[in-house]
C-alpha cells in the first residue's frame, strides 16, 4: 500500500507528485491528504512513508498494536508533535489544499479547525461553563454573556451532556465522572466549531457504559464533523468507523472501508491482527 496512492470508493485519488486542486472531482470530499509522511523521534523513525486520504464527515479509525505510530500520525494532523522538541517530520500533510506544515500556516489557526480529544479526560480545572466558553471567547466567536450561554448549551447538547450538567454549570469540570469528563472534553472541542475532531483513544480510560455513550456520540457527530479516532479496540473500530486504517511498525498496512476490511482483509498481517493473533 505504501508509496502508491490509495484507491478509495472506486475512485483514484491523484498519485504522488500530481498537482492537487480542490476542484479535483476525485477528492472533493477529502479532509486530509497525506503523502510520503516520515517522522523521526530523534534518530528513531516512527512513521514510514505514509500515504492516506481521509474523508470528510466520516469516522475514520486508526488501529494497530502499541507503538505502531497511530497516535503519532494523529498528532501530525494538528501539529501537536511540534510540542515535542525532538520530532522531525518530512512529507506532505494537506488540509483543504494547504500544507499544514508550511511556514505560513499558523498552528493556532490549524488547531482551531482541527480539534482534539485526548486519551485521558483533561478538562481545565475550571467550571463546566468555563471549560466550554473559554476557547470560543478566546477565538472571538462569542463575547456577550447570552451568546456564551447559548453556545455552552448547544455544545453540551451536541455532546449529550446537557441534561446531566445543566444544573451545575458552575461546578468544577473535574468533579464529573470520567465518562462525563470525556464528553465535556468533546463538548469543549466542538464549541470552537472545528471541521475535524481528532480523538486519541477517547474511551480507553472509560467503563463500558461510558464507552458506548461516546460511541453513539461519535455516530451523531459525524454528520457535522470529520472524526478521526485512534483505538486499541477493534470491536470499537468495527462499530463506529466508516473507514479503518491498520498501522504496523510505522507503516499503513491496509486502509479500506471498515466492513470490507473486517470481512475480507487484503493483507495477511491485517487478518492476523484483527483475528487476535498478535497486538
Amino acid at each position: 500500500m505504501n508509496s502508491q496512492a490509495p484507491v478509495m470508493n472506486g475512485q483514484q485519488t491523484p498519485a504522488v507528485g500530481q498537482p492537487y486542486t480542490r476542484n479535483d472531482t476525485a477528492c472533493h470530499d477529502l479532509s486530509f491528504r497525506v503523502r510520503d509522511l516520515n517522522l523521526w523521534y530523534g534518530k528513531n523513525q516512527a512513521l514510514n512513508n505514509l500515504n492516506i486520504d481521509l474523508f470528510q464527515k466520516n469516522v475514520t479509525a486508526l488501529i494497530g498494536p502499541s507503538g505502531c505510530g497511530k497516535s503519532t500520525f494523529l498528532r501530525c494532523l494538528n501539529r501537536m508533535n511540534d510540542l515535542i522538541p525532538s520530532v522531525r517530520t518530512e512529507g506532505l500533510v494537506e488540509m483543504d489544499g494547504l500544507d499544514v506544515n508550511a511556514p505560513k500556516m499558523d498552528e493556532v489557526a490549524l488547531r482551531r479547525r482541527v480539534g482534539m480529544v485526548f486519551q485521558k479526560p483533561n478538562p481545565f480545572p475550571k467550571s463546566i461553563f468555563e471549560n466550554i466558553a473559554y476557547a470560543p471567547r478566546m477565538h472571538d466567536l462569542v463575547s456577550r454573556k447570552a451568546e456564551q450561554e447559548e453556545l455552552v448549551e448547544k455544545a453540551l447538547r451536541d455532546a449529550g451532556l446537557w441534561n446531566e450538567v445543566k444544573d451545575k454549570l458552575h461546578e468544577p469540570g473535574t468533579s464529573l465522572s470520567g465518562g462525563q469528563q470525556q464528553r465535556l472534553c468533546i463538548a469543549r472541542a466542538i464549541a470552537v466549531q472545528p471541521d475535524v475532531i481528532l480523538m486519541d483513544e477517547p474511551t480507553s480510560a472509560l467503563d463500558p457504559i461510558s464507552t458506548a455513550t461516546i460511541e453513539d456520540l461519535m455516530d451523531k457527530l459525524k454528520e457535522k464533523f470529520t472524526i478521526i479516532t485512534v483505538t486499541h479496540n477493534m470491536q470499537q473500530a468495527a462499530r463506529v468507523a466508516d473507514y479503518t486504517a491498520f498501522f504496523h511498525l510505522g507503516e499503513i498496512i491496509e486502509y479500506n472501508d471498515t466492513k470490507v476490511m473486517f470481512s475480507t482483509p487484503a493483507q495477511k498481517k491485517t487478518e492476523d491482527y484483527i483475528s487476535g493473533r498478535y497486538g
Partner: protein
Amino acid sequence: MSNTFDEISQQLKRRHRKSSRLKWISMGALGLAGLFLVLFFADMLNKGLPAFQQAYVKTELNYTEEATTDARKAIAEELVPLVSRTELRTIPLEMRNDESMIGTSEERWLLVNSEADQYLKGHRHRLNEEEQAAIDERVESGQVSLRFNTTFFGTGDSKIAESAGILSAVVGTVMTMIVTLAISFPIGVMTAIYLEEFAPDNRFTQAIEININNLAAIPSILFGLLGLAIFINFFGVPRSSPLVGGMTLALMTLPVIIISTRTALRSVPDSIRHAGFGVGCSRWQVVRDHVLPLAMPGIMTGSIIGLAQAMGETAPLIIVGMVAFIPDVSATFTEAATVMPAQIFTWSGEPEQAFVEKTAGGILVLLTILISLNAFAVVLRKKFERRW
C-alpha cells in the same frame, strides 16, 4: 529447594533487627534536633521576653520655667538618679515645642534607667545596697514597676539602653522587602516561565540553568560586594538605603524564586497544556490562562520562602552599609536605614548588660515574623492547592 517457615523467619529476624536499629537511629537524630530547637527557643524566650517589659517610675512632673532648660527641676530630687537620661533630654524639648505646657503639672510614667531596670529583672547590675533598698521601697509602694515596654516597639535605636527600640529596623526591613519583592518577583517568575515554557532545550539554556542553580549556592556576602560595586559605585544608588539593600537582596532571592517557580510550573501536568493547545491556544495563552493559575500557589510559597530568607540576611547588607545607627523612624527608600538582623547584630556588640535582652528580644521579633511568613506560605499552599 524451598525453605520452611522456620528458615525464613530465621532470616527475617536479622532483617527486622536491622530495620529496627535504623529506625531508632533516625528517631534519635530527630529527637536530638528537636532537643536543640527546644533549647534554642527556651534560651531565646528566657533572655528575650524581659526585653518586652521595662521599669517605669510614676512621678509628678512640674513644668516650671526652669525645667525648659533643665528637666531635673521638674522631678522630685530623689528620683533624678532613677530616671532615664532620655526622659531628661526629651522633656525640655517637649516643653519648648508646646509653650502652653509651662506652668502646668501632670502625673506620668517615666522610663527608669537601665541599671535599675536590670536590677528589677534580677539581672547583673552595678547598684549598691543602699540604692537597691531605695528601689525595693518604691516597688512596694507601687511607684516603680515593670510595665509593657512600648519604647522597644515604638522607637528607633539608641545608645541609651532603656530607650533603644526596634521600630526603625522593622520599618527598614519592610521597605527593603518591598524593593526586593518588586524586583525579584516579576523578573524571577518571567525568567522561569521563559525557561520552562518557551525556551528551546539547547546548550545555551542548559548553561543558563546550571548558572542559576549555582547562583543559589553562592555565599551571600558576594552579593553584597556586587551590590557595592554596581549599585552604589557605578549607578550611584544612595548607600545604606532600603533601595540598595533591597536591590542587593533581590539578586540573592532571584535564583530561589526562579527555581521554585520552575518546579511549580513543571508540576502542572502536561495534559492541561495539551488541552489548551488542543482548543487552539497560543503558547502564551496556555501559560497565562491554564498553567500559571495552577502553579501560582507553588510560586507564592517559593517567593515567600525566598523573601523570608532575604529578611534574615545580614552579610550582604553589612557591605552596602545597612548596619547603621538609625535613631529615627523614616519610611523612605533613599535615606539610610537598618534592618532587623543588622539591628540585632549591632546590639549584640554593645557592652552594656541591658543590650543582651534587647538582642534576644530582637531575635524573638524577627523569628516571630519569619515563622508567620512561613506559616502564611503553608496556608496559601493548602488553600489554593487544586486537584486535577
